[in-house]
Amino acid sequence: MDLTSLVPELLKGFTHFKLGNGVMIFAALVLIYLAVFKEIEPVLLLPIGFGCLLANIPLAGMTAAEGMTKVLYDAGIKTELFPLLIFVGVGAMIDFSPLLAQPRMVLLGAAGQFGIFGTLILAIALGFPLNQAASIGVIGAIDGPTSIFVASKLAPELLAPIAVAAYSYMSLIPIIQPPLMRLMTTKKERMIRMDYAPKPISKKTLIFFPIVLTVVVGLLVPEATPLISMLMLGNLLKMSGVVDRLSKAAENEIINIATLFLGLAIGSTMEADAFLNWNTGKIMILGLFAFSLDTVAGLLFGKFMSFLSGGKINPLIGAAGISAFPMAGRLAAKTANDEDPDNFILMHAMGANTAGQLGSVIAGGILLSVVSKMLGIG
């Protein structure tokens, strides 16, 4: 054996290393840094960052035909299994009673979806084809699994930047929303107190709600059925109170394992050649636009509802209608509380926030339906 012929073999890791890999490894380190030291959505950004790191180590073989992250991608992203399983777990953690106690709050969940379509328009204007523009727009659903589900159907090639934008900005909600809240509302509006003496919600209502919602949304927007039904399945497991074993499994094992694998698989698509281009940059900017537009539209609709109600509704809860569950709800309540320490609108904000969760899934399904039809693939 000629030892000198081994030199390229020994250095292959370095000789195959491209500048882009370096850039992406730096990006991976930034994601991990945000996750670990800033605690920004760590359960997702840490695995995504680590997956990105692995994808940019040359010849490591993790993303190759039989590599581990490829296996996970094929098993859970291509089949859409992971986002749906995550939704089963999320459903088991959601409580719809604040919304059921004040049903009109559900309208705020519709207003908080303007960002989806506004972003779609802008993405078209920036030259993205319709399928990609719609996938980018769905960042405005401000809900991870919905974004991943729609993007993996319409434009899987953009999955990584869309998922990264969705989760990064979601964790930046406490930085993005408050300035817009203060800009769009007057101090007087923010100080509006809301009575909380809603009609009682029976256990029966809480059990029927996920079932009826699945059927109604399923008939209205078949494309939203996978997402909404898994969210509602999780909720039903929890609310029924008779399948403690299953709801615990949904809230723990199933969501934890799906989250870890989903993060790794998505991160592993961030290989330099595929990820490092202007589109990624544009998507990051469009994502920020989507988040802002959603918030503004939500607040405007909140002001409109406040006006209609004769000033009995605090428009801040409109900002909770964007989804970003449960951070946006908490943040709206906190902003009102900051203005007036005796003002508690948490229950109303959580009602709007769960409505936003529903609205996001429905809007995602509608977008999928309309765009598939136009592209002739529906």
Binding site: S97, A110, A125, P200, I201, I207, V221, G329, L346
Partner: protein
């Protein structure tokens, strides 16, 4: 205005129209549902006045409180915590809020957080 831009505006109008349409139908559904499934008799235990803690599993509330207490004890002893669950559900959040009131009312001993 290009065809594409027109198309995107159409999608927006159609999309937001459908979203509002669907949501309004949901609104009606919720009103009907709450009306139809409201408890006639009102045993205090069954009616949860808009609480975010519906206690379908009556132990859940107990567990949440026990867990919260256990966490509180642990924090008091340790000074700080960096453990962070996956996007804390609102139940936990609001339960913590309610916990303050409840714990002041009851002095429970021997509570323990179980899985």
């Amino acid at each position: 205005m290009t065809d594409l831009t027109l198309q995107s505006l159409e999608i927006t109008a159609l999309g937001m129209g459908l979203v509002f349409g669907a949501i309004i139908l949901l609104w009606l559904m919720m009103i009907m549902l709450t009306a139809l499934t409201a408890e006639k008799e009102s045993p205090a235990d069954e009616l949860i006045p808009g609480s975010t803690e519906p206690d379908p599993d009556p132990q859940a509330g107990f567990k949440a409180q026990a867990a919260a207490l256990a966490v509180a004890l642990a924090l008091a002893e340790q000074g700080q915590s960096s453990a962070r669950p996956l996007s804390t559900p609102p139940t936990a959040l609001v339960s913590a809020w309610q916990l303050g009131m409840r714990t002041s009312q009851r002095s429970q001993t021997g509570s323990r957080g179980r899985r």
